[in-house]
Symmetry: C2
Subunit: 346 residues, 2 copies
């Protein structure tokens, strides 16, 4: 292959407390020769096929903050999880040309990465490769593990999911349905609400941007109270939910998307309900559960089975070309996407 | 016995959002003949020996609120847990004159109660009867069960207790010490801080009313961060603690004494730390754990052993006479007491 350009997205500027804008990132085209570039021992050169964009990346843009993952570096490429194909491997590598892997790469067409961080995957019949970034990947396992380990929904219980049309929320709601719960979701557009009701089989759903009162909407749709609240948004919605939780309710705290761009964090006033209703509010990240191999195996088996039985419908929002990643990321944070945000690179 | 007076404390007025004052209660003296008063089947007449006053009672004064326990009724006696002596029992009762019991009675010298709610206790050598209201009763079991089931302190970890000089806090800190943790406490007076350091063997303690910044005080005393935060106060202190919690920290939420009398609840801003540090924040009430008989037996054995070994020092604040209960209750809510608040009735 002759020398070509590698299109890469560089992190230019910490967005501070505000919204991320495209100007905080820059698309550059670097001279690159995949056939001659040096690959150090234990590294491989991979070609990105599908790149995953996820809300947690916003936190990595806070360069000064204490976070669970180290921040992106100004002037360096942004990074994300991708399905990629090995193009060349250092001598002695366990991987070889043509292998399909999932792992952290640059927002780029080509990346040289340590093979340690890559997981080899096998293409499954009837399951698109990009699913390894979603329902069979991090968001899917986030939903599955958070429900199994914290939410513990039981048949007949009421499960409410905020951010329900997002990559994780959609899976959470459908798993809870498959387990026999009554499932209610909220999302930020009428199209998303329609998706929840008509395709994802939620029992009820509402557009949180157009209801007059979160409390009234929740009371209407959850007449028996809420047993499990899957919290993707934090802030004001959490405050509205707390008084409506049933005794011994569980709240897996998976995200706080309403707060990531807030200039002043919202103060949650109803925490006294934790005692009154004996509630558990527990934050987690999926990384804590990868070591649990039994849980992970059960996850892969059950999800593939549910997809085949059509108990789970899985949606993707696909943008094309790595150069579209900045606008796709900005759009996702503003709630433009319906389903898992993917950038199809090749 | 001739007809006498039964001194009873009546609930007169819901204090609303403000502080409880003595005027919200009234001490009355009712004609009473313990020898002739009618005792219906399955009831007994008991004479209160020691009455326990506890912060949770404040919540029962909110007559309109959704709470975990039904509110006190205006015009009726206030109620609380007491050590009492059976004076007369209905025919067929399992209890008889002279039996010692623990259970819910009126704030009164005499109460007729259902025998179902009473637990017979045996006087133990070297352990005062009033201990069944504290370290061997509800506050002690609250501390023990909350630590065992939610806090899970491990040797070498840092445990921070707010409201540390209260009935529960003092036991929490000392159990954590007995388990090999570094224990830090905060309280609202220099005398209480002295008690924590000099008698209860805390590693560090501070007066939250006089420190300039909760955050600075906590950073100074918890240089390795906080693994378990026993939350008795809620509000601003919780907000200060959240960013200082170590990954996978546990926060048993046992009380929110800073909020009971707040006209406007404090909004907690740092809940995003739940995700960043993968924290568990769990409210509970001790009543949930009484069914766990194995836990309860272990509690009684370990605590008596620790008292004998002087690993646990137990403090009481005793007022005399049932008529002192209103002022004692008001004082307790304002933090006047050091250790468990008891009213010695006889």
């Amino acid at each position: 292959m002759p020398a070509i350009k590698n299109t890469v997205v560089i992190f230019r500027e910490d967005p501070g407390q505000g919204w991320v804008e495209e100007k905080h990132m820059e698309v550059v085209h670097k001279d690159f020769d995949p056939d001659t570039v040096e690959i150090k021992p234990e590294n491989v050169l991979v070609k990105t096929l599908f790149l995953s964009l996820d809300p947690y990346m916003r936190m990595r843009m806070a360069t000064g903050a204490k976070s669970y993952i180290h921040p992106f570096q100004i002037g360096e490429p942004l990074q994300g999880t991708a399905v990629a194909e090995v193009y060349r491997a250092a001598e002695g590598s366990k991987l070889q040309k043509g292998d399909l892997v999932v792992g952290m790469v640059d927002w780029a067409e080509w990346t040289i990465v340590s093979e340690k961080g890559l997981t080899k995957v096998e293409k499954k019949a009837d399951v698109p490769l990009s699913y390894f970034l979603g329902i069979l990947g991090m968001p899917g396992y986030t939903a599955y593990a958070g429900l199994e380990k914290i939410g513990e929904p039981k048949a007949g219980e009421t499960v409410y999911v905020s951010g329900a049309a997002g990559a994780v929320g959609l899976v959470v709601g459908q798993i809870a349905k498959a387990k026999g719960c009554r499932v209610i979701g909220s999302a930020g557009s009428d199209d998303k609400v329609k998706l929840l009701l008509e395709e994802a089989n939620f029992d009820a759903a509402f557009n949180y941007k157009t209801v007059k009162s979160y409390t009234d909407a929740l009371k209407e749709h959850c007449p028996k109270g809420i047993d499990v609240y899957w919290d993707n948004v934090g802030g004001e919605m959490l405050d509205a939910v707390l008084p409506l939780m049933n005794a011994h309710g569980r709240i897996p705290v998976c995200g706080a998307i309403s707060q990531y761009n807030a200039s002043e964090p919202y103060g949650v006033k109803n925490l006294s309900m934790l005692i009154k209703s004996k509630l558990k509010l527990q934050g987690f990240i999926v990384g804590d559960y990868y070591a649990d191999r039994e849980l992970y195996q059960r996850f892969q088996q059950e999800i593939v089975q549910w997809i085949k039985e059509k108990k789970i419908v899985y949606k993707e929002h696909v943008d094309e070309g790595i150069a579209s990643a900045p606008s796709a990321f900005v759009g996702m944070l503003k709630g433009r996407n319906t389903g898992k945000q993917i950038v199809k690179v090749v």
